[in-house]
Amino acid sequence: MKLSFTLNGRAVQVAAAPDQRAVDLLRELDALDVKEGCGTGECGACSVLVDGVHKLSCLLLAAQLQGRELTTAAGLGGGDPHGPHVPHPIQRAFAEQGAVQCGFCTPGMTIAAAALLAENPAPTRLEVRRGISGNLCRCTGYVKIVDAVRAAALELADVSVDVSADVPAEALSAASDAALAYPAGETAGDASSVVPGAALAAPAGDAPGGAFSVTPVSARVRAKGRTTGSTTGSATGGGKAKAGGAA
């Protein structure tokens, strides 16, 4: 079938089998920044923005791109599409904060970060962790990724507005190292009280292609056992379903 959509600001018209996976089509279209790490919705490496919403292109079919606006990591930044690419502040922050090691997760991770910051311009460290929890990174241990997203948030925030917008004070205390640490009393550990169910399991199908939106990634993964069904007091998303059942 003939498809037309926008890819990183450029109109694309392409013939594709309707059941072709979007990740394959995008890579054929030279969007090689879209990576495949699993092909089954578990790693987030193939993340793209579809009409501004974080989706996994390995779970999207080509036909679902029809008429949509797609942004991949390469399209996050600015500049003339034919001229030099101007990195997005998130991408610069990833580089500057040491959030990039092998870099294979990074394009997808920056997409997740962009989607997060669009919704929540001043996330706490825990909110960042939650926002990127559908994207796996095997290299970094995530500390510097969280640093980077927070640094980007600081840079992107219009400070004068933010002050009145009651952003946590520590978010405004300049882009110092201290500002990138957890505010007192907040640790990733507190996930236990916040993460369960509600936070991760937003209803699917709330938008076209919603079954593939970022939130259901967690739901999908949970269904397969990445976190427990009950999540009672569950802090680590990495437990086994059967443990949850035993609880």
Binding site: E28, H85, A95, S133, R138, Y142, T187, G237
Partner: protein
């Protein structure tokens, strides 16, 4: 947390914007697709006699539009045997499959879809053979043989390290502790699966681009397997999307080479999907460990004896070398005068084990540290103090009998940890556990050898070129799998040549353009190649100054210096741009090549038996780790609340990169210790995807704190040592210690999954609803009798009296 704003890694921005190209991104559009047929997993057979492919199914596969070839063992030229040290692994199996992921055919197709359909059409006729899935069973008489007819049966290697007389010393030691431990298989789970593409060029060169850690050695492995002259094979290795040891040795290489030989000169690509990556990829060795430790009443270690059994799975890969390193580290980073370490490496019909960050050492670490904690409990000593008391220092003889002339800053790591508020404030934190949870704090002390060890020269050859444009090219030759060595090379060269970062460009490893420099592994990459590079840069600088002297009319080259983009006369300030200087020089003259060979232990001890290569090591990175955990009494789940690593990696070249290694290693170690739980039953992998192989997500980890002790390794480039591996070794023992602190039982089988934790909690008296009394758990540590000689030490016995607590406290 240090801001790294000043000096981001030179590879970071291109990776962050998605501009960087990995192996598969570089594949030409007209590639054919190759894929392996691995019927064992589908049939549920891990060991079987291959009667053949069903001819009708082959015809059906070939009838799929776009399927070009179905290749079998009969099509493999050469020996059809791959392997790094032992050539025991068929590229395609002809008679027997020895694990469920063994390939028996290779399909070549025009498209990914045709390949999938072709593979799906194939059927193999395999007669199941009795398998062996436990290394100790495999070593018994009458066990099914994994490699029939092999001399030595399933025993791939048996080795011994003996120093002093451990048996005698244990007989007279005032305190003797025993423990049995086991550590599981671990999956690398790099985000980029094994992949690459290849093409047979008209001049006969097999040109390959592969996600590989060892491009130079690959040529020999491929050449041997496929009957090719290794020097007609060109391997290029762009940035890897993760490796961690799992891309050391042939993954796709031999299959891909075979495909290219049969593709009529067209390029062919091969990429394992996640399931195949898990099925066929190399794993961390599962190990069983039996330990006996003897000590004096004051905690001085006297003797250690242990027996380690490593499961290498169906093929050797680097099993011998992995076990060697584990044995060398079996006694921990401590002074132990009498040591006896027996190692046995067995073939089984399990998935193939191979190199994995922490190379054999991650497995022994929870064992020696487990007994150290038991000893501390027995003698009522502070576990950190006990470690400090026995810690190795420079000049000490280690457990292999090597006198450590290299840098050892373990004591500083421990000092740093001892002063950390998480340690000094541990009691208060512990007793503040919320209801239905228990808290615990544990520490561990670990180390990891650097380099290949004696008998396998650890060498690198660096090449630097001044380009006509006046900037410098570094021919890196050791792949960067994400650890940042490429960026470290660029930084070292920029410093040595006094150039701005943009004056240095990197050529990624390419066997045709770069010089052999060994694999990206063993914590050696930056050390060995970095040293060679510094020499090459120094020679380059000297040469350029001499060459510029004439143009600048300087009588002595010493009057000149390299400045960004130019050579400058110190006193007059006259300068010659490098681009102008480059035009005077022929290409040959614009090159500088230098090599470096890692020093080895001079007083080669006579302690090791059975090691072919790689024993012993001289350089080690050290670390002390601390974990604070919370255990959910209802679910048995362990949550890591805080994690601290203090690392001695010599001098720190780039702090951000150093912390990346510490944090990333610890994160993988935490996954190994707690959640990954890789399951293999009867040789069949149950953990087949990333939803069951639970590598940590951002919500599973705390902000891992990385601290550095600023040691200096005099032989290192700018004083550094390799820190890539040591971080992985700390979490398993630190978390087991923290768990013991929390629940009173030492778990010795890993991972510390909720099932095991719950079982341990159930065995013990259930705690009161409001959480337990402060410090109750310490009571449950091994008894306080300081001088008693104990039998098997398998954790505290049920019903230990709470009163013991105070005794320990008082002490």
């Amino acid at each position: 947390m240090p801001s790294s704003k000043s000096a981001p890694r030179c590879d970071a921005l291109a990776k962050a914007t998605g501009a960087e190209r990995y192996a598969l991104d570089l594949a030409p559009a007209d590639c054919l697709f190759a894929g392996a047929f691995r019927p064992g997993a589908v049939l549920g057979i891990a060991h079987g006699r291959l009667r053949g492919l069903d001819p009708a199914s082959v015809a059906a596969a070939l009838a799929v539009p776009g399927v070009l070839r179905v290749l079998t063992a009969a099509d493999v030229p050469g020996t059809n045997r791959q392997g790094i040290v032992h050539k025991d692994q068929p590229v395609l199996c002809g008679e027997v499959i020895r694990h469920a992921g063994d390939p028996v055919a290779l399909v070549l197709a025009e498209s990914a879809l045709a390949l999938r359909r072709g593979l799906a059409a194939l059927r193999a006729d395999i007669e199941p053979l009795p398998g062996v899935f436990n290394p100790e069973e495999a070593l018994k008489k009458g066990a099914p043989l994994v490699h029939a007819g092999r001399k030595g049966g399933n025993l791939l290697l048996s080795a011994l390290i003996e120093k002093g007389d451990a048996r005698q010393a244990l007989k007279s030691a005032p305190v003797v502790l025993r423990g049995e431990f086991s550590t599981p298989v671990q999956e690398h789970a790099f985000l980029e699966t094994q992949c690459g593409f290849a093409q047979l060029l008209p001049d006969g060169v097999l040109d390959m681009t592969v996600s590989t850690q060892a491009p130079f050695r690959d040529r020999f492995e491929i050449g041997h397997a496929l009957g090719l002259d290794p020097l007609t094979i060109r391997v290029r290795s762009p940035y890897l999307g993760g490796g961690f040891g799992g891309k050391d040795g042939s993954t796709v290489q031999c299959l891909l080479g075979l495909a290219a030989l049969c593709a009529g000169g067209r390029p062919v690509r091969m990429a394992w999907d996640r399931e195949e990556s898990i099925l066929a990829g190399y794993k961390r060795h599962a190990v069983r460990l039996r330990y006996t430790l003897g000590a004096d009443e004051d905690g001085t270690l006297l003797a250690l004896s242990c027996r380690l059994t490593y499961d290498t799975g169906a093929y050797a890969h680097l099993g011998g070398e992995v076990m060697e390193l584990g044995m060398e580290h079996a006694a921990g980073p401590y002074r132990v005068p009498n040591v006896r370490v027996e190692g046995r490496l067995a073939y089984t019909n399990n998935p193939i084990a191979g190199a994995f960050r922490g190379f054999g050492v991650a497995q022994v670490s929870p064992a020696f540290e487990g007994l150290l904690d038991a000893l501390a409990a027995k003698l009522c000593l502070d576990p950190l103090e006990l470690r400090r008391k026995n810690a190795l220092h420079t000049g000490d003889e280690n457990s292999s009998g090597v006198t450590l002339t290299s840098s050892v800053h373990l004591a500083q790591c421990l000092d740093e940890l001892a002063a950390h508020p998480h340690w000094t404030g541990r009691e208060a934190w512990r007793v503040a556990a919320p209801p239905l949870t228990r808290r615990g704090v544990g520490v561990s002390c670990v180390f990891n050898g650097m380099g290949y060890g004696r008998g396998l020269p650890d060498m690198a050859i660096a090449k630097v070129e001044l380009t006509e444009a006046g900037d410098f090219l570094i021919y890196t030759s050791v792949p960067d799998m994400g650890q940042g060595n490429a960026a470290a090379f660029a930084l070292l060269a920029a410093q040595e040549l006094n150039q701005p970062p943009e004056g240095i460009r990197l050529v990624q490893p390419d066997t045709e353009r770069c010089h052999p420099s060994g694999s990206s592994s063993a914590g050696r990459t930056t050390y060995t190649y970095g040293n060679a590079l510094l020499k090459a840069c120094a020679a380059m600088r000297a040469k350029l100054l001499t060459r510029a002297a004439m143009a600048l009319m300087a009588d002595e080259a010493e009057a000149l210096e390299l400045v960004p983009g130019a050579v400058q006369h110190r006193t007059t300030g006259r300068s010659l741009p490098l681009a102008a200087l480059a035009r005077f020089l022929s290409r040959d003259d614009r090159l500088s090549v230098a090599e470096f060979l890692m020093p080895v232990a001079q007083d080669r001890p006579d302690t090791g038996r059975g090691f072919a290569i790689g024993f012993p090591h001289l350089f080690f990175a050290f670390a002390a780790h601390l974990a604070r955990i919370e255990v959910d009494e209802l679910t048995g789940r362990v949550r890591v609340c805080d994690y601290v690593c203090v690392t001695d990696g010599g001098r720190v070249l780039g702090r951000s990169c150093f912390d990346q290694q510490a944090q990333g290693g610890a994160a993988q170690g935490i996954g190994f210790a707690l959640t990954e739980d890789f399951q293999v039953r009867q040789g069949l992998i149950q953990t087949r995807d990333l939803s069951t192989c639970l590598i940590p997500t951002a919500l599973d980890l705390p902000d891992i704190e990385s601290l550095a002790v600023d040691g200096c390794e005099p032989t290192g480039p700018r004083g550094l040592k390799g820190v890539g591996e040591v971080g992985l070794n700390g979490p398993a023992p630190a978390l087991a210690a923290a768990l013991e602190d929390a629940i009173g039982t030492r778990l010795r089988d890993f991972p510390l999954n909720p099932e095991r934790v719950l079982a341990a909690l159930k065995k013990r008296r259930p705690s009161s609803k409001s959480g337990r009394e402060s410090g109750t758990n310490s009571a449950t540590k091994a008894g306080p009798k300081p001088v008693a000689k104990l039998g098997p030490e398998s954790g505290p016995k049920p019903g230990l009296k709470p009163g013991l607590k105070s005794e320990r406290r008082r002490a």
